[in-house]
């Protein structure tokens, strides 16, 4: 174990509300009983993991995005900026240039190709990153300001912060946003292992299939955790069997669990079998590292 990077486990799901945050927070707290661990909430649109810990704020910074700012005094109204922007974030309207910051992807093309340097890039605050600590548990979250549309830049920035600040931990956990589109790719693309959490219902199965397809496209090692097991039917289980996907744990459908979650409480301290499941999940994830050394 020389010069080891943290083992990165991302908790993701196709469907929302299947238990990503429940699993992330409980797994993080479970690991933190023994060793220092970092949990990073990458669901920057709706970050929830922090609701389950009362941590001490140890660091706070703005999440910035670079956008062009029009310098009227230099501009010759040549129209090139509008032409080179693939995202329609710049428009020439009569004698002025309008910038739409929400649409800008910070590619710098307009700024650097402008013949008279009339579009310097300036930082715009799009959200906030916060870093908390509860004993051995370190918790990093970013929240996107309301009205900002692009989660990806914030996710990338948050990962970068966590990677440089917590390079010495053995395990880093990441709570992904739901879905299968670009924010999920950004959250999972450098994972060592992805846990897909689902529920045994037709919606759960349908969205799990999309998530599995996504992970296969990204060539990721992954496994499935079935939450609310006992509700619905066995189709998810059969699907995983047929596709040779390991089922790492089944969290029972239990109203008491829903109640604890609703109150912002951790679950495993009250359920010995879930503590055991967390152990299994963790062992499995880490064992994949030994099987396929990077």
């Amino acid at each position: 174990m020389t010069n080891q990077q943290p083992f990165k486990i991302v908790i993701a799901s196709g469907k929302g509300g299947t238990g990503k945050t429940t699993l992330s927070t409980n797994l993080a707290a479970y690991i933190a009983e023994q060793e220092k661990v970092v949990l990073v909430d990458l669901d920057v649109e709706e970050p929830n993991s922090g609701l389950f810990f009362e941590g001490k704020l140890i660091h706070e910074e703005d999440n910035l995005k670079m956008i062009p700012e029009w310098d009227e005094s230099l501009c010759t109204l040549c129209g090139l900026c509008q032409k080179v922007c693939n995202f329609h974030a710049i428009m020439q309207l009569g004698p002025s240039i309008l910038v739409f910051p929400e649409l800008c992807h910070s590619c710098y093309a307009c700024s650097e190709l402008c013949p008279v340097d009339a579009l310097p890039m300036i930082p715009k605050v799009i959200g906030k990153l916060r870093d908390y600590q509860v004993d051995k548990l370190h918790f990093v979250e970013s929240r996107l300001n309301i009205g900002e549309e692009q989660a990806v830049a914030s996710i990338a920035k948050t990962k970068k912060y966590a990677a440089s600040k917590y390079d010495k931990v053995r395990i880093a956990l990441f709570d992904s946003p739901p879905g299968t589109s670009c924010p999920v790719i950004e959250a999972t693309k450098d994972a060592d292992f992805v846990i897909l959490i689902t529920e045994p219902t037709p919606f759960g199965l349908h969205d799990l299939k999309l998530a599995v397809e996504t992970m296969r496209t990204l060539n990721k090692a992954f496994g499935v955790v079935i939450n609310r097991y006992g509700i619905g039917n066995d189709d998810v289980l059969h699907y995983c069997e047929a596709e040779n996907i390991p089922v790492l744990a089944r969290i029972p459908n239990n109203r008491k669990i829903a109640e604890l979650y609703s109150a912002g409480k951790l679950i495993y301290p009250e359920f010995p079998e879930i503590r055991e499941s967390l152990g299994h999940i963790l062992d499995y994830c880490l064992s994949t590292a030994e099987r396929s050394p990077a």
């Binding site: 509300g17 093309a109 900002e148 549309e149 989660a151 999920v184 037709p202 990204l218 109640e259």
Partner: protein, 297 residues
Amino acid sequence: MKEIVIISGKGGTGKTSITAAFAVLGGADVVVADCDVDAADMHLLMQPDFGNEEDFYSGELAYIDQSNCTRCGLCQQVCRFDAISVIDGKYSIAPIDCEGCGYCARICPTKTIINKKLLAGKWYISNIKTGSLMVHARLEIGADNSGKLVAKVKDEAKGIAIEERKEYILVDGSPGVGCPVVSSLSGANFVVLVTEPSVSGLHDLKRVHQLVKKFNIRSGCIINKADVNPEKCSEIKHFLKEEGIAHLGDLPYNEDFTKAMTQGQTIVEFEQGVLTGLLKESWEKTKVLTNLNKSEK
């Protein structure tokens, strides 16, 4: 024609189950638009016939034609997304990292980088079991531009509603507050917020409500699984009152929602009891408030 958008901030609160129930209650008057394009589930309850299928192209991906590449490295220098690397002496672009800005292609001295149009998904117009039509879509794995596909689905639904003189468009939105949600909200007449009484439910409701406020659209809220945490539930009701959000109803925690789903049914088809009664009430309130909104403007 009025547009009703159903969103929740948090996923898994029952948004799609409730939208589907409303679609059945509204019957032939309602065109359904499933705008949760990256995890679209509505079709599992609506029996669509996928009658009309179209490709959706959006965005571009840069591709290096190796034959003319002089290995000048300019493309790698200008790429802000670290998408270009040298593999076995050849410059190559990782599709997963390419943002499609086209900067590299524009400055390539030998014009050896080309932008390929990206197939971002498919969209469908289907006949559904309510006797009406549904517009739905499927985003390609990992595609961005989900906001644009949402806009496309909504536009098509709008066109159909106008042409067929339907009264309502019912839009099932995605979780979160980002680009697909913003896209689903534009042009809406009324927003139904679906939440659950949990710390996460309330937290996410507050964030998505801030977004709705920016659009200046009137909204109402359904509290699903209301009895799971009575304390949080009253906290939510307090929040609704303070913010002037109409309370459209409470639904109890009930596994019949799941049982109905496993049979491909909405809850209003599956049971004729309490839940259906409550949903009918919420739907009636939603219609009244949606129409009120217009006359006030």
